[in-house]
Every structure is written in C-alpha cells, then in structure tokens.
C-alpha cells in the first residue's frame, strides 16, 4: 500500500471533516445573518462587505455558504442512508431468494436506472412539490437501484461461500444468515459506495436546487445560490465562484474517501 493511497483517504477525511465542522458550526454561529436582508448592502464584492461579499438581497455570502453546508449535508446523508438501507435490503432479499424475486428487483432497478436522475427528480418535484422531502426522495430513489445491484452481486458471492452454507447447515434461517454473515461481509463495499454516492448526492442536490426543485428559501442552498448567481453573472460574477467551489470540494472529499476505502479494503476482499 503506497503512501498516496493513504493520502487520498487522509485528504478526503480532512475535507469532509471540515465540511461537517462548518455545517455543525453554522447551527450555532455564522459571521452574519443568513436570513436578514440588507438591501442597501446588496451585491457587495468579497472583502468589501464580509469575507465573501453579499448576495442580491444583501445577505452575507459566507454565512449562506455555511448554512448551505448543513442543508446539503443533511439532505445528502438522509438520502443516501435511505437509499442504501432500502437498496441493500432489496438487494440482499433478491440475493437470498433468487428466482422471481431477484428478477423483479433487477428489472425494477433497470426501470429506475433507465430514467436519467435529473428527469425523474423533476417529475417527482412536480408531483410532490419542492422541498427537502422531494430532494431526499428524488436522490434516494436513484440510490436504491445502485445499492440493490451492488448488494445482489456482493451478497450472492458471500452467500455462495461455505460459511453461509455452514450457518444454514447449523440451522440458521435466511434472515439470520443475511444479517449475521452476509451484511457484515459486504459492509466494506457498501461503505465505499456510500462515500461515492454521498458525493453524487451532493452533485444531484445542487443540480436540483439549481433548477429550482431543491430547498425553498430562506433555507440556504449551494445550488440555488448558483442559480441566483447566474442572473447576476454580468454584475457580480464572484457570486458564482464560492458556492460552486464548495460543491466541488465537498464532492471531492467524499470521492477521495471512497477511493481511499477501495484501496484499503480491496486486497483483502479479492
């Protein structure tokens, strides 16, 4: 194992740790108010008013960014947790049952996969209205097949191993074998996928908010900040920089952790 591999895990952890820290701090303190309007101070450049300037309603961009970290993080975490839980449950059921159940789960995954996530999220947004619930549901919906497919494959490989047969020979039921043997053995692969999907969830949430299907105001959202910045590109181009960089950094952090985990766990798994 080379130093650079550990490097990506460390770098990823540092970035993600910082993200989480900022998100948590934003619950307690922000340099300015992320909701209070100060129209007179609108569209001030960075350092002229606050570290990152003010937006079109005179709110402090840095504060908005910090609160946005919390909002994006909670949506991504909840969505991935839901998607992973449901997907792994479905996938492991399919792996254990096989036959028709497996075919159904795989086809259902195909069906969900066939519709580009942004489009299905838009449809869902039209159906549910916008808000955190929609964002979470939309993102979780396309996470489910990802985790289902992963755990069908990995679960079947684990189930085929003798210790699962041994457990069944000892008299364990399918549920017990799945929970006690299969799940712990595919956990590392799931962990890797969780890290990678968290990054994807951030990107998707940003995209949804950018299109107006994300959190409603005054909840700060990086994607919506970018959407707002788009109209002010000619007069306040700096507004477009910070939120985008924040998204990129957050995604980078999660991806680095995912890559680091792959490298860390791969040799023993293969």
């Amino acid at each position: 194992m080379s130093a650079s591999r550990h490097g990506s895990l460390i770098a990823g952890s540092v970035i993600t740790g910082a993200l989480v820290a900022v998100a948590v701090v934003s619950r307690l303190w922000t340099p300015g108010s992320p909701t209070r309007l100060a129209i007179a101070d609108k569209l001030k450049a960075p350092l002229v008013h606050g570290l990152l300037g003010t937006d079109q309603l005179g709110r402090d961009v840095l504060s908005l960014l910090m609160v946005g970290a919390w909002n994006s993080l909670s949506i991504a975490v909840v969505a991935v947790a839901l998607g992973a839980a449901l997907g792994v449950a479905l996938g492991l059921t399919a792996a254990a049952r096989g036959g028709l159940v497996e075919a159904l789960v795989m086809r259902a995954a195909d069906v969900v996969f066939a519709v580009p996530p942004i489009l299905s999220a838009m449809l869902l947004g039209a159906f549910l209205g916008t808000g955190p619930r929609t964002a979470v549901t939309a993102i979780a919906t396309f996470m489910v097949p990802v985790f289902a497919r992963l755990s069908v494959g990995a679960g079947r490989r684990v189930l085929a191993r003798d210790f699962c047969l041994a457990a069944r020979a000892a008299g364990k039921g399918q549920l017990a074998v799945t929970m006690q043997h299969v799940l712990p053995n595919i956990a590392p692969q799931i962990a890797v996928q969780v890290a990678l999907q968290l990054g994807l969830a951030f990107l998707t949430e940003a995209g949804l908010s950018f299109l107006g299907f994300g959190l409603p105001p005054p909840a700060a959202s990086w994607g919506r900040m970018l959407a707002d910045a788009e109209t002010y590109l000619g007069v306040a181009p700096w507004l477009a920089i910070a939120p985008g960089a924040a998204i990129a950094l957050a995604v980078l952090g999660f991806n680095l952790i995912g890559d680091g985990l792959v490298d860390l766990l791969d040799p023993r798994e293969r």
Partner: protein
Amino acid sequence: MSNRLVIGVLAGLALMAGQASAAKTTLVVGMNIEPAGLDPTVAAPVAVGQVTWQNVFEGLVALDRSGAIVPGLAESWTISPDGLVYTFKLRSGVAFHDGSPFDASVARFTLDRARGPQSLNPQKRFFSTIAAVEAPDATTLVVRLSQPTGNLLYWLAWPAAVMVSPTTADGDATHPVGTGPFRFVSWQKGDRVELARNGDYWNHATPIALETATFRFIADAQAEAAALKSGDVDAFPEFGAPELMASFKDDPRLVTVIGNTELKVVAGMNNAVKPFSDARVRRALMLAVDRQMVIDGAWSGYGTAIGSHYTPNDPGYVDLTGVYPHDVAKAKALLAEAGYPDGFAFTMKAPQMAYAMRSAEVLQAMFADIGVTMTIEPTEFPAKWVQDVFKGRTYAMTIVAHAEPMDIDIYARDPYYFNYADPAFAALMREVEATTDPTARATLYAAAQRKLAEDVPALYLFAMPKLGVWDRRLTGLWQNEPIPSNVLTDVRWSD
C-alpha cells in the same frame, strides 16, 4: 432662409443618406417566453399576443400606445342609448393573408366561435353578455347584448378578440392567418418565429417600414444580454432581468427605456381562512411591508409602488400607497389587537418566477420583523399554482403578477382565489359595468381602488416596469404597455 428651404435641404440630405446606405428593413425582437401556439383566441399566455397582436391578427378595435381604444377593422361604431346594441361599420377591401376576404360574416363567425359551446377562448366571459350577432350587409356588424357591458369595446381590442377566417381558424395555432401588416413565415419551436411584410395590407396610410420581423425566444438573462450586446437581437422590449439593466448603460449602441405595464404584483391572501379572514391581520401585514424595499430587493429598484389593484396608467388611478404605509410598530399593535400578539405562522405558495420568489423572500424577512413566520413553498406555475391556488383555493398566501389590464373586477368575481366576496365591492363593479360614460366610470373605479386599499384582500406591492432595451437607431417601439404586445407597425430604423 425660409423654413421651407430648410426642410427641403434636410429632405434632400435624408434622401442622399438613404441612397448611400439603405436603412435596415429587418428586425429581430427578443422575448423571454416562447408563446404556446400562435392563436390568441384559443390560448391564454401573453406571449401569444406579444407576437401576433396587431402584427398578424387585428380586432374590430385596437388600443394605441396610450391605451386608448382606436378603430381597427371597424372604422366606426355606434352604441344604442340603452347600451345594448353595438353597430360596427367595417372596413371594406380587407383580406386575410391567404386572400380570403374579411367582411361582416367573418366577424360574426369570429364572435360566435368565441362565445359558442365549443369555444376554447381563454376570455370567453368577455362575450358572455352577447345575445346575438348579426351581419345585415358586408360592412355592417350588429352586436346585441343581454345587459349593458361597459367594457365590451375595450375587451374587443384584446388579443383574445382578434378576427380569424373561417377557412383557416383551426390551423391558426401553428400557422396563423390574419389581416395584419405582417404574415406568418415560419416557427422554429424553442427558437424563433419569423414574420414578413404583408404586401397587400389594407392600411395604406401608415407604410410598414420593416420587410421581415423575427421574434427570438431567449429565456436566459445572460444570453439575452449577450444577444443584445452582440447585435444578434435588435430589441428586447421586455427585458427579463432588471439586475442587468445597469450593464447596458455603458453601451453606446443601445438605449434603455423604462416604461410601465399593466402587471400588478400582489400577494393574494385567502380571505376565507383564519387568520386572513380578519381584516386587521391583513392590514397588519400590509403595514409590515416596505414596498420600496420589495421593489429594490426583487426588481433592482425598477417598478412603481401600488396601493391597490390598479396601475398608474389605468384611467382614474389614485395613489393609495399611503393608506397603510410601512410601520412596524403599528403593524404589531394591530396584530395584537386581532389576537396574535406573538404573531403566527403560515405558508406561501410562491410560483417559481424570479419576481415572485424574490418578492417572497423579501416579504418573509419583513414579516419576521413583526413576529410572523412565513414558509415559502415554491409552486410550479402555471400547472400546480392554478390547481392549488387558483382553482382549489387551498392556500394561505400567494404572490403573482396579474397581467390582465383593468382586472380590478376580479375581486367581485365569485368564486375567485382571494375568497374576498364583499357585497359592497361587487355592487361597485356592477355599477361600473352598467356605466358607459368615461368620467363616471373613473369615479367609480377610484372608489373601488380605495375600498381595496382599505380592506387589503391582497398585499399590493408594485406595478412591474417595462424594461425596454433596444438599438438606438430604432424608433416606433412602445415605451409603455397598456396591454402585453409588441406592435411593429410604426417601427423603423432611423438611418
């Protein structure tokens, strides 16, 4: 030197200039929103009229740039003293672009189509008091009403009342055929509509300067600005992004022309549900609002504060912004008096248009100052908004720009989404309908405005500006917008 000589010399110079470099005869007009179909008699979106009204299609009457009713395909008309019979004298020698003639029978067809059982006309109610339409001869049209309808002439000037040919009406949505100065050439969906001069236009009094006119649909503010600066688009009569208006100031080739429109941005409340059923609560919210701050925050300072559902360019306008001016202390006191000393919480269904979302955000902050918590629920417009707010009336507060000119009567319509249902106001509106004298009507409208300003069935915020940006050499575009339109009849290049 006599004046005559000066004029002669100038004319000569102009002629030479014209020979040296022939003035441009093509025009590209930018619009934010693409029309859904090109037949204003079957679809409501204002963009339909903005492309076709007075360009492709004409009505019996029209509005001029000041909003006054002027003759259109009817050169004159008389109204019976009881206000029940309108007799129009139609122009002769008018033909549709496909060559079929326009006469009284065509006009009768158009009006019967608009009011008939199969009608898809978005303003069908305009024609609801028409009892019969008769065409005694080719140039005479008699419209008989079941009750006096003071607004009939004004409504007949609207895009929804333009004249269509029986032979082509069904295809007008995709291939409009009208009597106007421009005929339809092509429509590249998602991009542009092209029109060309109608060589056989009936009105020889005003020569049409443009050979072709192209409407380009650009929804993105940056792209709009870039298209203007690069000259891809010659004019944006209704520029969509006020925040970028400042960026045109330095461009020597462009002028910015701020006019007014009929669009009233109002935050409607559900007057039938608590706490909005209490007028004191509505007044308190109105007192909490700093209209200028809304205009500054939502529309970069462009726009005119309004105190009622009426714009400064409507006849008989009264400035009522002073009835409930910004006063946080008074708002709190009123709220306490109404039984909400600690405020209350509610949800606003805000359509996802820039002006609405931004205004909502500003309102949210201002309501917070008096202890009222407003949650914003972005609501797709039109689909979801129409269903939830307009039809279902399952909402607390909403915000929308009312685009229809002179629609103060909506507060008397029952049901309407405000659930206002005030008998006194409804009586006022009935009186207006029954009155044809302009001065008397203006007095009645003033009373109606005052009633709304005091009852506050909706929070009256501002009238949208018409942000025009176009090439300095262009003349003839309308500065104000008495009705959403882009009339190209008088537009020409000045060099």
